[in-house]
């Protein structure tokens, strides 16, 4: 692993991310709609966790949603790099594909973590009191979760040929990952066939971990969540490095 190169790649992503401020805001729009419209619209409905409103109940799920959307979108963005030859420069550089993958993945994590920070602050102000300890824990939990999902996005992006696939991935992967994760409902009360699918959804464990941190109660234990996230991280990273290894100059 070439750490100078990883640092340089990360620096590039940081500069680009901070230059495209409208992207930072636009990615927050749909999660905020869920949080404030759906959260308040269904305020009459009970929260599955006693002592909290429905809006507070879905807040951890919305947090996971922000990480999911930021990270997947970022990963798929390398299709543009591929299509428009910007990837050539890094593919031609004397760095291994693993270095390239981790540099890109760290860049994506950076974006997701900035979004997480923004949402934690919005949540602390409008949704529920979050002390500095809880905020820090949310942020720490977001680190492996964003790595896991960025790696998935990069893997798919590296294998996709065209941007037309972008909509397909959003419809057939991102939204199902979100809906089956239990972000908007309690897994304990869900139909068994929904729960069966949720077990295979990596986002489920992210939502549950966030819920334990913020509400003190989840469906799985902390260790089950951390273990599942770690496994998904390893698998996604391995698949990502392999997919980057196959990246070739397009003719």
């Amino acid at each position: 692993m070439n750490f100078n190169a990883v640092y340089a790649l990360l620096l590039r992503e940081a500069k680009i991310f901070l230059r495209e401020k409208e992207r930072i805001v636009s990615i927050l729009i749909s999660p905020l709609l869920f949080l404030f419209v759906m959260g308040k619209g269904m305020a009459g409905g009970q929260s599955p966790v006693p002592g909290y409103t429905y809006q507070q109940f879905i807040f951890p799920g919305i947090m996971a949603m922000v990480i999911l959307f930021t990270s997947i979108t970022y990963g798929l963005y390398i299709i543009w790099d591929k299509r428009l030859d910007f990837l050539k420069e890094v593919l031609a550089a004397p760095i291994s594909r693993a270095t390239l993958f981790y540099g890109k993945a760290l860049g994506g994590m950076l974006g997701a973590l900035i979004e997480t920070l923004l949402l934690v602050m919005i949540g602390g102000l409008f949704i529920m009191p979050l002390g500095p300890g809880k905020m820090l824990l949310c942020f720490l939990a977001a680190v492996p979760v964003s790595f896991m999902i960025t790696s998935m996005g990069l893997t798919i992006g590296a294998r996709m040929k065209s941007m037309e696939g972008f909509g397909l991935v959003m419809s057939f992967l991102t939204w199902p990952l979100f809906f089956f994760s239990g972000a908007l409902f309690d897994l304990a009360g869900a139909a068994p066939y929904i729960r069966a699918v949720s077990y295979f959804d990596p986002v489920t464990y992210a939502v549950d971990l966030m819920r334990i941190i913020m509400l003190g109660q989840g469906y799985f234990s902390v260790w089950t969540n951390l273990g599942a996230i770690a496994l998904f991280c390893l698998a996604a990273a391995a698949l990502g490095v392999a997919a980057f290894g196959k990246l070739q100059q397009e003719k």
């Binding site: 100078n4 680009i16 004397p94």
Partner: protein
């Protein structure tokens, strides 16, 4: 030691054989031109040498390193200027050069001075802090060249370095290339389908068509192989006296003019004109690389050059639209 030595390099794609058994040796410090029409295999050949594409078979040593076994070592010793722009639109020129220097493992304290030097070399110092998406095609190309050079490569690959450039930028790129060769003894491999570019820059030229090298020599020798220069003379030419000259190959009447092919018009033109008698008008057409190509490859080279250049600008426009 040869800078590059290839043995029977082959690259086969599903439908076509892009490079079909290329063996050649390029000397250190040489400017080597690869000349051929689009689709001849120039870019594929360069991509294999730069370890961007794996050969189907065959091998090559680049800067003494094997392209199949030591690709990262090969990469450290080469610089590439791509045919299509690959500088990062969303970064400034300085940031592009910094990123590149870090990726190529330059020592950190050498990076800043090297960036200044390169920016001066390609005349971009005053625009160094502007985002590349605000650059013209010529500026991008110059930045791309600076980037290919900043890590001090022993061998530089230039894939159509002046495609789509205006004449002034093209001349500037040419003079950079000559400077490099003189100042740093950099070995330069240049693909082009502009004849005058190959003619004015290259020490040797390989003509490549359908994946094979069909002729390889100095530009002068190639032109000699094609043969004679043409002299057109208007006026009552003394045919018998002209035909008697030893260097005259053919004589034809064409309209009101005589079309005479002779060897080495530079040395023999004077004698020819003396023999011809009274002359109203003379036109000399020397052999160009276009003729060389036509003879060896059996086709014109630059049919679709302009079409291709337009394609690139379209891509830049698309890119701007999308990334904003």
């Amino acid at each position: 030691m040869a800078a590059i030595k290839t043995e029977n390099l082959v690259k086969r794609y599903a439908e076509v054989t892009a490079v079909n058994g290329v063996s050649l040796e390029i000397k250190e410090g040489e400017v080597f031109g690869l000349l051929g029409p689009n689709g001849a295999g120039k870019t594929t050949l360069i991509s294999m040498l730069a370890t961007l594409v794996r050969p189907t078979s065959g091998s090559a040593l680049v800067a003494g390193r094997d392209i199949n076994r030591e690709p990262l070592e090969v990469r450290r010793n080469i610089g590439i200027v791509f045919q299509e722009p690959s500088v990062d639109d969303l970064l400034t020129a300085r940031e592009n050069l910094y990123l590149h220097s870090m990726l190529y493992g330059m020592p950190r304290k050498e990076i800043a001075p090297a960036i200044e030097k390169m920016l001066r070399l390609v005349n971009l110092s005053d625009r160094a802090e502007s985002l590349v998406k605000t650059y013209s095609g010529g500026m991008r190309r110059r930045l791309e060249i600076a980037r290919g050079l900043i890590h001090g490569p022993k061998i530089l690959f230039l894939d159509e370095p002046t495609l789509g450039l205006d004449p002034a930028s093209r001349k500037a790129v040419w003079s950079h290339i000559r400077e490099l060769k003189q100042a740093h003894n950099t070995t330069i491999i240049l693909t082009t389908h502009y004849m005058e570019e190959a003619d004015s820059l290259a020490d040797r030229i390989a003509i490549i068509n359908r994946g094979k090298i069909i002729e390889l020599d100095t530009p002068e020798a190639l032109k000699r192989k094609v043969g004679e220069d043409l002299v057109f003379i208007a006026g009552p030419v003394d045919e018998a006296a002209v035909r008697a000259l030893p260097f005259v190959k053919t004589f034809e009447r064409e309209g009101g003019r005589s079309k005479i092919s002779i060897q080495n018009s530079g040395a023999n033109l004077h004698a020819l004109l003396n023999a011809a008698g009274r002359i109203e008008e003379v036109e000399v057409r020397r052999v160009t690389l276009d003729d060389v190509f036509l003879k060896f490859a059996g086709q014109q080279i630059s049919d679709d050059a302009d079409e291709k250049a337009e394609g690139i600008f379209e891509r830049i426009a698309v890119n701007k639209a999308v990334r904003r």
